[in-house]
């Protein structure tokens, strides 16, 4: 490398750093999904069973590896395939770790899990120790010690994975996030919440009719959603996850759908048809003042806040079929965002601000996921093939999208990277799972 190239690179790096710092104030953030982002090679040497049920170490290791892979911050290295065999995992670094570092592995994690032999009944505590070796400094940079009931083995792995992401990026990670969704129970549709990887699903509502399109509160203690009062009128209800307590927050008559709380929790945007046709409104959650945001003879719905809370993306059929529009949070400065195709709906603004995901109808009349930049300059179709894709929702790190699809027959829930890679199905049971919505980071 010549001196001139080196100087050029250092100038570029400085400019990039300035841009990163400045963009923190705007709606666009630098993200680890940029094509030139180098994932950090990480190997999991193993979670050893130190006297517990047979499944324990293996389960934690499996969950940890899946979390590391989905973080998109690390690339998961298969250590044996690069010639690293670790025979005994103690608290100190194995001699083989340095060798792995020379093979380009930056981080090695390992650990042990145990359940005391005297307490092998189901309710006894499990213990997990996790260690992190950094090849850069050739030392064990730290670890974690967890204890909890045997039902939280997966949560221990999730928490450890988030600590790894936090250590190397300063971000909280997504392994402890949850997905709320709608699941068919008989002829009813009820709200459920599961871990982001599809495990540990729990039912939240059980009123025997329709509970639709949940959205999280910024503090992830509540969901807002559409419920049917007496089966005849939609209201917008709120439910507290910890207690199951539920109450009505909007009850205007007519259609009251697609609620969305602003990122600061100060406004609830929603669609209501109580004045004739579906229009968008904004409720100040502190003063209870309600402001109408749209005025036209067409349907306006599905508001999605920009991460700054200053703008809304929404669906409107004012130009014929549904299209995605943008406007300021007070209803001013309306402009159409999507022009390709005759059906574009259900926008979801990325928490990083740089993309809006939505459902696009292809020329073959297939309903697929698309993403578009808020300036409309770049549009990418993320999913292909048969099946109706619906309800995209971003992970809080802006690297994944969860959505429903009938690609495998019944409607089930899937996740996909923001760049269209790593399509993964996360629900496998039931007759119908839909309307997933990803929680904020904890």
């Amino acid at each position: 490398m010549t001196f001139r190239t080196a100087a050029f690179i250092s100038v570029c790096t400085t400019l990039l750093l300035i841009w990163i710092l400045e963009s923190g104030a705007a709606d666009v953030f630098l993200e680890a999904t940029r094509p030139d982002f180098q994932k950090i090679p990480l190997g999991v040497a193993g979670i050893q069973n130190n006297g517990g049920p047979d499944w324990l170490g293996g389960r934690i290791e499996e969950v940890l590896k899946a979390d590391v892979r989905r973080s998109l911050v690390f690339s998961l290295v298969d250590l044996p395939s690069v010639g690293i065999k670790v025979s005994d995992l103690g608290p100190g670094p194995d001699p083989a770790f340095k060798q792995a570092g020379e093979h380009g592995v930056s981080v090695i994690v390992w650990g042990k899990a145990s359940m005391k032999s005297s307490e092998k009944d189901k309710d006894s505590d499990i213990h997990m120790d996790g260690f992190v070796y950094d090849a850069g400094s050739d030392e064990v940079v730290g670890g974690k010690r967890y204890v909890g009931s045997s039902s939280v083995a997966r949560l221990m792995a999730h928490r450890f994975a988030d600590e790894l992401v936090f250590r190397y990026t300063g971000e909280p990670g997504i392994a402890r996030t949850k997905v709320a969704y709608v699941s068919e129970q008989g002829s009813a549709r009820e709200l459920f919440v599961m871990d982001y990887d599809g495990y540990d699903a729990r039912q939240l509502t059980a009123d025997g009719f329709l509970n639709l399109m949940p959205r999280w509160s910024p503090d992830r203690r509540f969901l807002v959603f559409t419920a049917y009062r007496n089966r005849n009128t939609q209201d917008i209800d709120m439910i507290e996850l910890a207690t199951g307590k539920r109450w009505t927050i909007v009850s205007l008559g007519g259609l009251n759908i697609t609620p969305a709380l602003s990122p600061d929790g100060n406004f609830l945007a929603f669609a209501s048809s109580y004045e004739g046709n579906s229009e968008l409104y904004r409720l100040d959650t502190r003063t209870k003042a309600m402001q109408r945001l749209t005025t036209n003879a067409s349907g306006d719905l599905s508001p999605s806040w920009s991460p700054s809370g200053r703008e809304l993306a929404f669906t409107s059929d004012r130009s014929g079929g549904p299209q995605v529009f943008l406007m300021s949070g007070d209803g001013s400065n309306v402009r159409r965002l999507t022009f390709e195709g005759d059906y574009n709906a259900a926008p979801a603004w990325s928490p990083r601000g740089n993309w809006i995901a939505y459902v696009c109808r292809t020329p073959k009349k297939e309903y697929k996921l698309c993403v578009i930049t808020p300036d409309g300059q770049k549009r990418v179709q993320l999913t292909m093939g048969p099946g109706v894709d619906d309800s995209p929702s971003w992970s809080p790190d802006g690297r994944h999208i969860v959505f429903s699809s009938t690609a495998d027959g019944k409607s089930q829930i899937y996740m996909i990277n923001a760049d269209g890679k790593d399509l993964e199905r996360i629900t496998f049971t039931g007759t119908h799972n839909s309307a997933p919505t990803w929680s904020p980071a904890s």
């Binding site: 025997g208 209870k288 709906a345």
Partner: protein, 234 residues
């Protein structure tokens, strides 16, 4: 229906008594309530607050719309960082985060749905079917509604409800709007034929209560529907 109304109404009445507001009448809103003012809607929003208050929990507007912002929360996202000598962290179960749903009311709801279906089947009312993406009523649909009007005239005390349904193609949200357009198109045509608008409620179920579940046009055409039912209960 009655049991649910009672369940809702009891705490509401209590709430009203507590703060001296007039009656429970606002609760009995019809689905076609296009003329309500926003004041009324927000009034009902505060009903929710009263319902919560009478449950014995916190009172005041904060119960109705709690502070859901992140202000004042631990900025470290619950993570404590890696440590060379880590102290033990106890991991709470996921079970403490989420309440368990009470499946009690589902059975009552099912009974009421069956009663409505039975009454509607006995009346022999005809439905209107729509083309893909469309909410305009076909000639066939007009004929079906003309026959429905005969039944409505013969049963002057009956209330009808028109359910708008859609096929599975398209988004859940937009199909709720499309379903409402279909239901209102049916209502408007029935009004043209002389049925009193006060006898006709509309509700949209979008693609959430399909009549069949196959991914084929023969099924889709069944689900693009204005379903005319006899309203039982409230």
């Amino acid at each position: 229906m009655r049991t649910i109304s009672a369940r809702l109404c009891f705490p509401l009445v209590l709430g009203f008594l507590m703060i001296g507001m007039p009656g429970c009448s606002k609760k009995a809103v019809q689905s076609g309530g296009d003329t309500q003012s926003s004041q009324q809607g927000m009034g009902k929003a505060s009903d929710g607050m009263n319902a919560s208050a009478s449950d014995g929990s916190r009172s005041g507007p904060s119960t109705n719309f709690p502070d859901t912002s992140l202000s004042g929360r631990d900025a470290s996202n619950g993570l404590r960082g890696l440590d060379k000598n880590p102290s033990e962290e106890r991991i709470g179960g996921g079970g403490t985060l989420l309440a368990k749903a009470d499946p009690g009311s589902a059975g009552r709801q099912l009974e009421e749905i069956r009663a409505e279906q039975t009454a509607s089947a006995a009346a022999g009312l005809r439905d209107v079917f729509f083309a893909y993406d469309s909410f305009s009523i076909s000639e066939e649909g007009r004929q079906a509604l003309a026959r429905d009007v005969d039944w409505v005239r013969a049963n002057p005390s009956a209330q009808l409800k028109i359910e708008g349904h859609c096929d599975e193609r398209g988004t859940s949200a937009y199909n709720l709007v499309l379903g409402e357009k279909r239901a209102k198109a049916v209502r408007n045509y029935l009004v043209e034929l002389g049925v009193g608008a006060n006898r006709l409620g509309v509700v949209s179920y979008g693609k959430e209560r399909p009549f069949c579940n196959e991914h084929a046009e023969s099924c889709y055409s069944q689900n693009r529907r204005g379903h005319v039912v006899v309203k039982t209960g409230k």
